[in-house]
Amino acid sequence: MTLDTFVQLSAILTGYPEKKLKPKNDTQKVSEAYFAVLNKEVDAQTIAQLNSTFTSIQNPDEASVKTQIVDDPTLGPIAKNITKMWYLAIWYSLDPTSTDPNATYVVSSITYKNGLAWSTMYAHPMGYSEENFGYWETPPNTK
């Protein structure tokens, strides 16, 4: 799987356009970080299967990704984990019985600050606000 393919798939899984996930002038390199985690945590064969399934879909959209990937018993857990990374900046262990305390982890400080869950709800990651004194007194711009 290429980084570009990963970003295309991520765009459908997250609901955000590719250019938000991987901006032209990408100072944060969040997509690279998540792509690296995917390649570290998931075996090459499964990633290849994810790649071939996704690239074989003509004009992929949410409906086709749902039936062929998210609902697939092998690929679904991987797709869900990719979505969780984007939203929460955490890689969750694929083995729910694992007792290894390091199997689930925050990918990095930079990705934490870019977690999509926060901006989606018009907030900021706890501990990382770029706004000014008193901004909380008025509702955020939800446009």
Partner: protein, 606 residues
């Protein structure tokens, strides 16, 4: 620097809130001061490094930025579990890793935590700076509950003024004045204007102000806080107040750490103390015994052990000496230190009353949470900016605990681990893409929670003692804690739940609070209890009080109103452990006011 040639006027155990405050006051008055600090030096990690630990922590609990130090360990809320799951483990490091620092003997676990590092628990405080209300000082006289303080509101009021400038508090006199009889010195104003209310606060205010509850009426007020807001003119000098630090940026992270130090913490005061040139600190120096002169009963030394790394061995031992001694080691550690000092007094130093370590109190917290009828946009602003202070006193206190209400700006983060828990659940259920965005926007923007900080009456059977068997990595006994919530306090929970339900109805909000035994045990195993056929959970507020209480007589208290030991003329014991009763206001402001009072008394007693 150990047993150096400097003759110290005062030896202080603990470089946190109270210790740093007194060190600064004494240092400025020209006294030579030595602080023994159990934890790492001020300069050992910078704020960015602590933030990095926080960002990487899976559980963003109060201790998340601060690594465990097995030579000066601290408790963690992650260690709270059912009592039968605490398993003995001979190796102290393994035991702390498995069971946590506290040896919990129950019947309920003690749920609050502190930090052991230069600056102390001020690193992770919320910032709330509420005064006690006048009747909090005379709970026994008014309501027949607990004991009275050896002072009243008017005695402490000037020290509150001083403490609010010492910390740098943003607040409004006209909001606090008159609440249950609170008064301010003529002409007084806070150093800074109040922190603006959040969108949620305004909804609360609009919906609930004027609502009667029991014998009181709800009024939502901005919470005075040690966070930087717009400056006022100093009421005495007329000069614009400035502490040189940044305005609050609303990082929603006061606990566990303010990323920009817009919130006051005691490292500021400790640095100022050091800058007087009269204060020295020995870091990584853990006091373990207080010694006295057998004839005069005056304290004549404090024995300590030193270490270099958090897992390393003892690297030094010695005895710190001075003319006077101040123990400011936090309520649990201070009491433990005196109770460990048994070689000359079988019941421990400063313990002729038998009260040392007893009357351990917290503000057990009951959370209630739901969804507002329209978005109020949580996870924006400081963690809490308003509260309800008008329910804190009344004739009901003969019968049940009082509470204050804190309005939270962090959605369901505290009770459920939001947004992590819910986002995980959504994605596990197959939700993704545009539906995920819509669901998050629909649900999270309406999340809110309130916290009831419930009064805990002082009880002899809530106490700490040094463990007879369990130690830290230096071989120093760990605190063994016996803790429960009295029927008086439990009834406060019952009334708090009723109050939450009434408020949520008035707000038009859903009530999503876990209230069944099954739900509570599933989410909060270990800190669940029953009262009057209802089930509850409690959280710690981090307000550890009562273990060396002040009083009017030596027979039932540890110190007098100046926090001077009844037993030893040159010994002062300060911090939240001095509180005879806990009331409902977050204790820090009162603790700093008391530390300033003790500093005055020490200087006057020279």
């Amino acid at each position: 620097m150990s047993d150096s040639n400097t003759q110290y006027d005062v030896v202080i155990v603990g470089g946190g809130w109270a210790g740093a405050t007194i060190a600064k006051q004494l240092g400025e008055a020209g006294k030579k001061v030595l602080i023994l600090e159990a934890g790492n030096p001020l300069q050992s990690r910078n704020r960015e490094e602590y933030m990095d630990s926080f960002f990487h922590a899976m559980a963003k609990v109060p201790s998340a930025p601060y690594a465990q130090n097995y030579n000066a360990p601290r408790p963690s809320v992650l260690d709270i579990k059912p009592l039968d799951e605490y398993k003995p483990e001979p190796n102290p490091v393994a035991s702390i890793q498995k069971n946590g620092y506290f040896i919990q003997k129950g019947p309920l676990p003690f749920a609050s935590t502190n930090e052991r590092v230069a600056g102390g628990t001020s690193w992770h405080w919320l910032g709330t700076c509420l005064r006690l209300v006048p009747n909090d000082f005379k709970l026994h006289e008014k309501y027949g509950i607990g004991v009275d303080w050896p002072m009243d509101y008017d005695d402490l009021s000037p020290y509150y003024d001083a403490a609010e400038y010492f910390i740098g508090v943003a607040g409004a006199v006209d909001q606090q004045n008159g609440i249950h009889g609170i008064t301010f010195t003529e002409g007084y104003n806070y150093p800074m204007q109040p922190i603006p209310p959040s969108v949620l606060d305004q909804h609360f205010s609009n919906a609930l102000d004027g609502m009667p509850l029991d014998e009181n009426v709800i009024k939502v007020t901005g919470t005075p806080a040690g966070r930087n807001g717009a400056s006022n003119k100093n009421w005495k000098t007329g000069k614009i107040y400035s502490n040189g630090r940044r305005l609050c940026q609303g990082n929603t992270n006061c606990t566990p750490i303010c990323p920009i130090q817009a919130k006051y913490d005691a490292t500021i005061t400790l640095s100022e103390a050091l800058n007087t040139g009269n204060v020295d600190v020995m870091y990584q120096t853990v006091a373990y015994e207080v010694l006295m002169d057998e004839q005069t009963k005056e304290i004549n030394g404090i024995k300590y052990k030193q270490y270099e790394t958090k897992l390393g061995p003892v690297t030094g031992e010695g005895t710190a000496t001075g003319t006077k001694y101040v123990v400011a080691a936090h309520a649990i550690e201070a009491a433990k230190l005196f109770l460990m000092s048994k070689s000359q007094m079988s019941a421990g130093i400063a313990n002729s009353s038998g009260q040392m370590g007893k009357n351990l109190m917290d503000h057990p917290v009951m959370l209630a949470w739901g969804l507002m009828p329209e978005p109020t946009f949580p996870f924006r602003g400081p963690l809490s900016t308003s509260g309800i202070e008008t329910l804190k006193d009344g004739a009901y206190r003969t019968d049940r605990a009082a509470y204050r209400v804190e309005i939270g700006n962090e959605g369901w983060n505290w009770p459920t681990g939001s947004p992590y828990t819910e986002v995980n659940e959504m994605i596990d259920n197959g939700i993704f893409g545009s539906e995920l965005i819509a669901d998050i926007q629909e649900n999270f923007t309406k999340q809110f929670r309130i916290g009831f900080l419930i009064e805990q009456d002082p009880e002899e059977d809530c106490f700490i003692v040094p463990s007879a068997t369990e130690t830290d990595n230096l071989g120093i006994p760990r605190p063994e804690i016996h803790y429960d919530l009295s029927p008086y306090t439990r009834k406060g929970f019952e009334k708090a739940r009723e109050a939450a339900a009434a408020m949520f109805t008035k707000l038009g909000a859903s009530n999503n609070t876990y209230e069944t035994q099954e739900e509570l045990e599933k989410h909060y195993a270990g800190s669940v209890f029953e009262y009057n056929n209802q089930w509850y959970n409690f959280f710690g507020a981090g307000h550890i009080m009562g273990t060396h209480r002040m009083g009017t007589q030596a027979s039932d208290s540890v110190t007098d109103a100046n926090m001077k030991s009844w037993d030893h003329d040159n010994l002062y014991i300060v911090g939240c452990g001095s509180f005879p009763t806990g009331a409902t206001s977050n204790p820090t402001l009162t603790m700093v006011a008391l530390a300033l009072k003790a500093a005055d008394a020490i200087l006057a007693d020279w």
